[in-house]
Amino acid sequence: MTTILDPTDERVPVERQITPRTGSIPGVIGLLDISKPRGNVLLDELERLLAARFPDNEIRRYAKPTFTKPCPTDLRLKIKAECSVLVEALAD
């Protein structure tokens, strides 16, 4: 991690940076299937690996109704309320 100081007049937000990696995950891990073919296969394997590495964390699965449309607001709020991190399987 390097810190630099903003040379601009700060009217434009700086692009969001990756959250610092701490080596641990607090709370519930969410896995979101966007309903593209075989996304569930990837997430099944990811769930197995995460469960082995983080046995104390609960893992919850979610699915979008269709990959062609944005995530429904209710589902987005539900995930936000329930999870501290989310892994999304984006493509087939």
Partner: protein, 528 residues
């Protein structure tokens, strides 16, 4: 007695959180493992801990975590050893060398710091504490100890560390938004992606570099230097320093950058118009006065070109401030048709010592011992004026005039437009071969040799530019024979001296729109 040092909370090697003030009398000693004197006093501190531990806190504060462990194991220490590997407490307690010992007595007041080892002082402090606590004296073989040993420089003052600590500390002068760049990101690519660059690589403006840059000026980091168009953004000294770091400046250049920014962000200079014009104008900075030598500017061989850090980065820093703070970017407010390499940087110093004339800043009303930056809005240059044959003063002056006639277009005359003529030393030699050749005589000669009858300026089949044919048709032959010099007035011709002592090659920068509708030359004294 002095003020109580700042409170802190640190962990000791056993993971116990310890805070100062402790609520009891305390003896705090800062130390580092590679300091011989710290190793000398470590057993003493242990003896103090054994003697006074029930009534007072005797702590060692180590300046590195692994160093704390080394000291503990090497001397079999049982006293609490606190980890100040981050060095923030060392910085806040503001001492210079270790061991540094602070005694906070029963009344809560702290004795002046003892640094290094002076046996008499340590003995006196030991006696004082034993007396104050009403305990027996510690078991110390004072006779076996040397009278005096110097301490070692405290780690928080290491040049590689100190500026970062100051930048991060409470009360830091830094106010700019901090941008965290993930370790997986390439910092140079990140800065390009953010649009911070003029197209060339930048020096990352880390807080410690900006702190070092700010040391180049006595001005408060939050002072507003100028309002920078086109965004009309307030440029604080800190923001200028950030851009100066990115440009590659050394701290001693910062006052020049600040003065240059003040000069161009005036209504007279009109930085907005200079940025926006399709003609591709840009500031050309000329530095005069003692600062030229102090910061190592180039005024001789290759003065107008690459190779000198001060020349290159001062001009670039100004451009980056205008780009990043002002928001003037090509395709945005910068609408240059072709633009110019001067939009990267253009700054040089006048070789006053090689000039037969008053230097530019004296001519413009400053004292010779003042350091001054002068900003010209220029669209072209440097354009070479080559004459290796002339041997008479009026001949070389004539050549300089003919060289200027090409400004904008040779057939356009009586121009109310600035030009900056840079006369090289060999041409100066020729000019002055018979004695003084004042600047005004040179200006007059330029006007004389460039005077052409108006009829040569009429639009024709060779070039449609100039006096419209319809207007010319209404003029008498006598009127069309009226001679018109290149410049509307000799005062538009600005003259400085620079360049190598070998070579008969002068140069000119050509202006933009001069005056209230465009830009006027502005000088600013450099605060240094």
């Amino acid at each position: 007695m002095t003020d109580t040092p700042p409170a802190f909370t640190l962990q000791d090697l056993k993971g116990v959180t310890r805070s100062f003030p402790t609520g009891r009398p305390s003896l705090i000693c800062f130390a580092k493992e590679d300091c011989a004197t710290c190793n000398l006093v470590a057993p003493l501190l242990e003896a103090f801990h054994q003697a006074w531990g029930e009534h007072a806190d005797v702590w060692m504060v180590a300046q590195a975590r692994d160093g704390a462990e080394i000291l503990r194991d090497r001397h079999g220490l049982t006293l609490p050893i606190l980890d100040d590997g981050a060095l923030r407490t060392s910085l806040a307690w503001d001492f210079e060398s270790v061991p540094a010992v602070f005694w906070t007595g029963t009344e809560g007041a702290t004795a002046p710091v003892m640094e290094g080892f002076v046996k008499a002082e340590w003995q006196a402090l030991s006696a004082h504490i034993s007396d104050a606590l009403g305990t027996p004296a510690p078991q110390v073989d004072w006779a076996g100890l040397p009278d005096w040993r110097p301490g070692c420089g405290s780690k928080h003052l290491d040049p590689d560390i100190h500026d970062r600590l100051v930048a991060e500390a409470e009360g830091s002068p830094i106010r700019a938004r901090r941008i965290e760049i993930a370790g997986s990101d390439d910092i140079d690519e990140f800065m390009f992606d953010q649009g911070f660059s003029d197209g060339l690589p930048l020096v990352p403006p880390t807080p410690e570099r900006v702190i070092r840059m700010l040391a180049g000026t006595t001005r408060d980091p939050q002072d507003i230097v100028a309002i920078v168009p086109p965004n009309m953004a307030p440029a604080t000294v800190e923001k200028v320093a950030i851009n100066a770091v990115m440009a590659g400046c050394r701290p001693e250049y910062l006052p020049v950058v600040i003065a240059a920014l003040e000069a161009v962000c005036t209504d007279e200079f009109n930085m907005h118009g200079v940025n926006a014009t399709t003609m591709g104008a840009s500031p050309v900075l000329v530095v005069n006065g003692p600062i030229r030598h102090r910061i190592g500017m180039n005024m001789k061989l290759a003065a107008l070109g690459a190779g000198n850090r001060a020349n290159a980065t001062i001009g670039r820093a100004l451009r980056l401030v205008v780009r990043n703070l002002g928001g003037a970017r090509p395709g945005g407010v910068d609408r240059s048709t072709l633009s110019s390499p001067m939009k990267f940087t253009m700054c040089f110093a006048e070789w006053e010592e090689g000039s037969p004339w008053d230097p530019l800043h004296v001519e413009r009303g400053f004292q010779r011992e003042d350091s001054v930056v002068t900003a010209f809005a220029m669209t072209s240059g440097p354009v070479q004026i080559v004459d290796q044959e002339s041997r008479r003063p009026d001949q070389i002056a004539g050549t300089l005039g003919l060289g200027l006639e090409g400004m904008f277009l040779p057939k356009i005359h009586r121009m109310p437009v600035d030009a900056l003529l840079v006369v090289c030393p060999e041409h100066i030699n020729t000019l002055t071969v018979d004695g003084a050749y004042p600047k005004d005589r040179l200006r007059a000669r330029i006007q004389e040799v460039t005077s052409r009858p108006l009829r040569e300026m009429v639009s024709n089949d060779v070039s449609g530019a100039g006096i419209p044919a319809a207007s010319a048709a209404k003029m008498t032959a006598e009127m069309l024979a009226t001679p018109a010099p290149k410049f509307a007035d000799g005062r538009y011709i600005h003259i400085v001296v620079a360049g190598s002592e070998a070579g008969k090659f002068s140069a000119a920068f050509h202006g933009w729109v001069t005056g209230a509708m465009g830009s006027t030359v502005v000088s600013r004294k450099i605060d240094c």
